[in-house]
């Protein structure tokens, strides 16, 4: 009799964060192999670009990663601006940075909630959503919608931020550390949580680099690469922040790094709010984006999104439509490294390790 169970986890499964299919081979509860199958959420983001003008494609880039719309939006705008040789006003860059960092907090909060749900704790999910809701309301007030913002435009942002809004942001960042310390009280020291995450899913730095894993997952493996620091885009060069890093390499390290990163983001937001309150400037360099024609060339923008390195490659042939747009996202490579991490672990560690990698499927399938 064959002892090996072949289990199809997904595409419809409560904890595959979308529609991922994992073909798992189990011996009892022990995992022998895992094979990720992706593509159930493929929307043809790259083909869509080729049939649309630059401005028409702008709202669509928000959909590449629905939890980090500002990152994708920034990557696309940045590439277009670099191809056009347009200077973006400093105020606009600060607003963009502020939005991106708030977005990073929102994204990490959602990750924390769903990760804890994967581990079986239900309350943190609601607390995280409560705090994330505040951020989304702030975004709604600023941009008009909660998730699909369409706020960054070529040359700046769509409209200026109001002082009232900035006050709301500062009151939010004054409150968030209390919530974070609440999460830490529930989670960080909890022996069951430690048991599920310590030394589970060890991602060695060499493996991480081989598989091109980036972002918090890479930093949890002890490689200190943060594109905000090493290749400062936007105005990240002007603000002070520390890179959160841990060399434990396991799921617990990934948790610690993300919690630390939320605090770092708060610092950056604080500085951005301070700048925006004290300096007034133009928020938009006017370009004729209606009949935008980009000179021939190609550019790749490097953005540190909440799930790793986000590249937007644009090749232009001088026509109003982009010749080729290519998205490189963090989750895409995190999914690929999953089989390496869970070999030999138990079946319920598969879910815990997968949850700790912070994968969302729209970003993988695009």
């Amino acid at each position: 009799m064959n002892k090996i169970i072949k289990l199809n986890v997904g595409p419809q499964h409560p904890s595959t964060h979308g529609v991922l299919r994992l073909i798992t081979e189990l011996d009892g509860e022990k995992i022998l192999s895992v094979e990720p199958v992706v593509g159930y959420l493929h929307r043809g983001m790259e083909k869509l670009a080729e049939n649309r003008s630059y401005l028409q494609y702008l709202p669509m880039v928000d959909r590449v990663d629905y939890l980090g719309s500002f990152f994708t939006s920034y990557a696309y705008c940045n590439a277009v601006e670099k191809l056009l040789f347009v200077e973006v006003p400093k105020r606009a860059e600060y607003i963009r940075m502020l939005c991106m960092e708030l977005n990073r907090i929102a994204s990490h909060l959602l990750w924390l909630g769903t990760f804890m749900l994967d581990l079986g704790a239900s309350s943190p999910l609601f607390y995280c959503f409560r705090d994330r809701e505040v951020i989304l309301s702030l975004f709604e007030e600023l941009t008009g919608q909660r998730m699909m913002y369409n706020y960054f435009v070529f040359g700046g942002v769509r409209h200026d931020v109001s002082d009232d809004w900035l006050c709301k942001v500062s009151s939010f960042i004054a409150n968030l550390p209390k919530s974070i310390s609440d999460y830490e009280k529930i989670i960080t020291e909890n022996p069951i949580f430690l048991d599920r995450t310590l030394n589970k899913g060890i991602l060695k730095p060499q493996t991480a680099l081989q598989f091109s894993v980036t972002g918090p997952n890479l930093r949890a493996s002890g490689v200190e690469v943060d594109y905000r620091k090493v290749m400062p885009y936007s105005v990240y060069g002007d603000v002070d922040f520390v890179i959160s890093e841990s060399n434990r390499c396991d799921s617990y390290a990934r948790y610690l790094v993300r919690i630390q990163e939320m605090k770092t983001s708060l610092d950056i937001v604080k500085q951005a709010v301070l700048y925006l309150k004290n300096n007034s400037d133009n928020y938009l360099t006017k370009i004729n984006s209606l009949n935008l024609k980009i000179p021939e060339g190609e550019y790749t923008s490097y953005v540190e999104s909440s799930r790793g390195l986000l590249n937007c490659y644009i090749k232009s042939d001088g026509s109003p439509k982009p010749y080729r747009v290519k998205w490189r996202t963090g989750s895409y490579y995190s999914v690929q490294v999953l089989p390496e991490l869970v070999k030999g672990l138990n079946y319920n560690d598969l879910i815990a390790v997968f949850g700790s990698l912070d994968v969302i499927m729209p970003e993988v399938d695009r």
Partner: protein
């Protein structure tokens, strides 16, 4: 930007302003770039494929975590057959599957190549400029 004269002596390459164009064995070049300490390109961030009508251009985007430099290596494929770099960078597996799926390039040395996003029964390779979908059942094809 790095000094590429050493590489251009060793390999037969041209240097563009944003990328170096490789006319030689891509595996040897990548291995050289990866293992030489002064470059140490230990991460292949992604492989971009562009349909140039005459052929397909593959851009290998390399990053060195220790030296903090990026390098784009370009290779033009003309007969739909490329060399797989999975041996050098394991992360290339998904990329190559995607390029096979979208551009129809076969990768020599990648044994487990399959369609990544589109169903196995899909006809054609969507990101080619010559691709035309005639399946009228699809709602978006109106």
């Amino acid at each position: 930007m790095i000094d590429v004269s050493v590489i251009s002596e060793k390999f037969n390459i041209e240097v563009n302003e944003t990328k170096i164009i490789c006319n030689c064995d891509i595996i040897r070049l990548l291995e050289f770039l990866k293992n030489t300490p002064e470059y140490n390109f230990n991460m292949l961030t992604s492989i971009v494929a562009v349909d140039m009508i005459s052929g397909i251009e593959l851009i290998y985007q390399l990053y060195s975590t220790s030296n903090n430099i990026i390098l784009n290596v370009s290779k033009i494929i003309e007969n739909n057959l490329a060399q797989s770099v999975v041996e050098v960078f394991k992360s290339a597996y998904f990329d190559e599957c995607e390029i096979y799926d979208m551009f129809g390039i076969n990768f020599e040395g990648n044994n487990k190549i399959k369609r990544l996003f589109m169903p196995e029964s899909w006809i054609g390779h969507p990101l080619l400029k010559s691709y035309k979908n005639e399946d009228m059942r699809l709602a978006w094809n109106e």
